[in-house]
Symmetry: C2
């Protein structure tokens, strides 16, 4: 079975039938939303339970069920490990773990995999758990989805959640909660919406129980079965993983400058402009340079969608943009702004990127700037694996932003150390070439030939290079890396946001 | 079939099987939420349509389908009449009309009933349409539900909506909208949530289309299929129907004073106090006197749920309460506060009163003050019909507030003109005696004997009278009114909030 990015797929894996990817907008859903059970909590009933263990018991969690988590605290999260430890102690096995993402802090998950507590994962893997899965596989392949794709899967029941654990930095005893206030404030709680709305049981875990009613109400009481207060849900300083500073590398600063120049010359940056911001060093630089450009030219943008950082907050504060739409806050300035700025609006990841709704935010974005571990000469993008074949990253909002935005710009260096970033074929297709428009490198800008309109728009204004020339240039400089040796076992499935399959990841020999 | 308020019911009406009311918390739902179809709106698709007619066409509305509306603009609403006129012109028949409520302004509905355009109504009837139904009946009996009960019925699919028309005083072209801004601002849009979340198709009708993204986002784009801009959705001055001023009647002011005194003596009014406010002249006086009492005694309440008026806003502004939870705003000061006060929080009517959730707001209320057209010696309440049998009012939040609040206080005059308000048996049971605690009249205060705790709490502090004595007193003064003459035809079914049946309304001879 060959899909529309030329990847050969089995028709079925472990009883799971695969639908091949056929193009970014080729799949219209025919089903209905998942319908969770009705509940009844009467006036004399309480929801606060003394411990996570009690919540696990009360929800009826048992072998073979699925539990979900959000990753707003990123590498500072304490809740996944705490819940899994309790589950393990209680002797519950064969759990499907459905976090929005795992981080290095979740390395203890590996022990739970080894012990049979966790036998499936549907969620993004960043770091050690991904590396473990690459080398050892699991009972079932990991399902990798974009943010919008995961919301879609939850919303239609493809990812059925028995118990959602929602970390909240403030909650009342009836479960109204948000992530904006308290010692562990992490800002937007966009990932939690899909789970709260569709899980069969919802447990809010907080370290900050406050009198009823807590507001703003991100997750309303009507969806929350139980509330547990613990000492700490996490360390908010762990939100700022990786580089949350503007790159200091002159070549990457140059990439960022070129992105803005390209967009400006292509006539994209004008009143009403909107874009999706990112949090990598280059993306932050793009945001900063866009800010400067817009301010200098008196341009006011409609909105920035994020992954929000302080650099975007600056744009809101000085009127360069009218609104921020925020699904997850990427630094503590964004967290503070989320709590204080009325025009910094929390949105769910359903609204951000679920393609099977009446339209998501990415559809409205003029531009997005995204990174990649590899880009190939067909403009396919890899963000999941490295050239050595190790599964080390989630898809994030990559597929969603690329599909929705008028212009999808990939910012990459030509080389990372001794590794070329532009490849003949990416190790893993994370985002299909149909949705990728411009690749900006420190060695030139390539435009996807399918975007004749863009090529026309910048003709004579900006130098465009052929992506094959970039590929050759990189190869001439550092050669081709040794291809990873995979065996046949499929350890992960890369779903496209609509539930079709883009690619699979195989186990490293 | 006899229910728990002693009403005899048929087992079935027009093929609709009735479940008898068995007590306020006797029914636990076993089903699931209604699951609307998944959608897909791709980036190049637009949602704005030039007219209501186009929206009707695009949604595929046809004979026999159900359309819904909210009543936030109350007697100032223009949208129901406009949509029904288009439907009639297009020759569509046999429509089930599911407004949250109809008002005198919707009298043209009667013509549509006569012409077969509208053959069923599920929704509250205030005024002429109710009178028409009382006298003539319809093809199917009208289903009367409380606010929470309607949200429940929509949420579980008992009231299936093909097309929800949502009036918004501001919207963007992707459907994000609210009722807080614009020339037709009406404040909270709490009724629209259940419909937006569960209707098969959603059309936002606005007179104020603004650049994307509009915020605050009450109804998010993901639920909205189409957006139509019209000249005017209504006249916000029509929100303030009836008496929105504190009563000037000395006897009603006395009732209000007695309510506060009763609650104070019963030890209910203390820090953390919460109540549901109403908008009748006596309820407004209760709110005002509570405000005075709390302020004088340095008491700070947790929240007021409403039906919010400026009198509650005053309490928020001077710190007498911490939060307002608002499902519908009852005057223009409430509308203004909704837009400007962060602690004036919009809530859906699912959250307000749907009993088949993980707990609604009414469960958290210490007290509520409600009116009645009749109260009987068993403490059953009628708010739907008058003693002449005419169906003239909806249930509103009456059942919900009564069921959830720690103390439900009914404020009534002993007489209305030459009519006694306390009856041997109410004409229609709208709210069951199991959830009614105190009846405060200008001739004394009666406490439901089932509330021994309350009787004990005020013993020696407040004079309590027997409700039968109040009944006799009224009868001695004005006699019994002539009982209405009904024929057998059932023209309306009064559902309890959980979907069981409290009573039926029969056609007047």
């Amino acid at each position: 079975m060959l899909n529309a990015v030329g990847r050969e797929l089995p028709e079925e894996i472990n009883g799971r039938k695969l639908k091949p990817y056929k193009g970014p907008f080729s799949f219209k859903p025919e089903g209905r939303r998942y319908a969770p059970p009705l509940k009844a909590v009467f006036p004399d009933e309480k929801k606060v339970l003394p411990s996570i263990k009690d919540a696990i018991k009360k929800t009826g969690l048992e072998d073979g069920m699925t539990i979900s988590f959000h990753h707003h605290l990123r590498n500072g999260d304490y809740v996944i490990n705490k819940v899994l430890n309790e589950i393990a102690k209680m002797g519950i096995k064969d759990i499907k773990l459905a976090p929005t993402a795992l981080f290095p802090v979740h390395e203890p998950v590996i022990e739970h995999i080894k012990n049979g507590v966790v036998t499936s994962i549907e969620g993004s893997l960043n770091g050690p758990v991904g590396e473990y899965v690459s080398k050892h596989g699991m009972k079932n392949p990991v399902i990798l989805r974009s943010h919008g794709g995961r919301a879609r899967a939850v919303r239609c029941g493809e990812l059925h959640i028995d118990v959602a654990f929602i970390s909240a930095s403030i909650a009342d005893e009836y479960g109204n909660c948000n992530g904006m206030m308290g010692k562990s404030a992490f800002g937007a709680i966009g990932f939690a919406y899909a789970d709260a709305f569709h899980a069969d049981n919802v447990v809010v875990v907080t370290d900050n129980l406050q009198p009823y009613p807590v507001s703003p109400i991100s997750i309303p009481q009507i969806y929350v079965d139980y509330v547990v207060e613990i000492d700490s849900i996490g360390d908010p300083s762990g939100i700022q993983t990786g580089t949350m500073q503007i790159t200091k590398s002159p070549s990457r600063l140059n990439i960022a400058k070129n992105v803005v120049e390209f967009l400006a010359k292509a006539g994209i940056i004008k009143d009403g402009f909107s874009f999706q911001a990112g949090a990598g060093g280059t993306s932050l630089a793009v945001t900063k340079f866009l800010h400067d450009y817009m301010k200098k030219n008196g341009i006011v943008g409609d909105f920035v969608m994020g992954g929000i950082t302080g650099f975007v907050v600056d744009m809101l504060h000085d009127g360069t943009i009218r609104k921020i739409l925020d699904g997850q806050s990427f630094d503590l300035r964004a967290v503070e702004s989320m709590a204080n700025d009325a025009d910094h609006v929390e949105v769910s990841h359903i609204m951000f990127g679920d393609p099977h709704t009446c339209g998501c935010v990415v559809n409205r974005q003029n531009a997005c700037f995204l990174g990649a571990t590899e880009v190939d000469i067909n403009f396919n993008i890899n963000v999941n694996t490295h050239s050595d074949g190790l599964l080390l990253h989630g898809i994030g909002g990559h597929q969603d932003a690329a599909a929705g935005s008028d212009i999808t710009v990939i910012t990459i260096p030509l080389l990372r150390g001794r590794l070329p970033v532009i490849r003949e074929e990416v190790t893993t297709v994370s985002t299909p070439h149909h949705t990728v428009d411009v690749v900006v490198t420190d060695a030139g800008i390539a435009v996807n030939p399918q975007r004749e309109d863009l090529i026309e728009a910048v003709k004579g204004k900006i130098d465009i290079v052929d992506i094959e020339d970039l590929y050759k240039k990189a190869k001439n400089l550092v050669g081709e890396p040794k291809p990873p040796e995979f065996d046949d076992e499929i350890v992960a499935i890369v779903e496209y946001r609509d539930g079709t399959v883009l690619d699979v990841v195989r186990r490293l020999k």
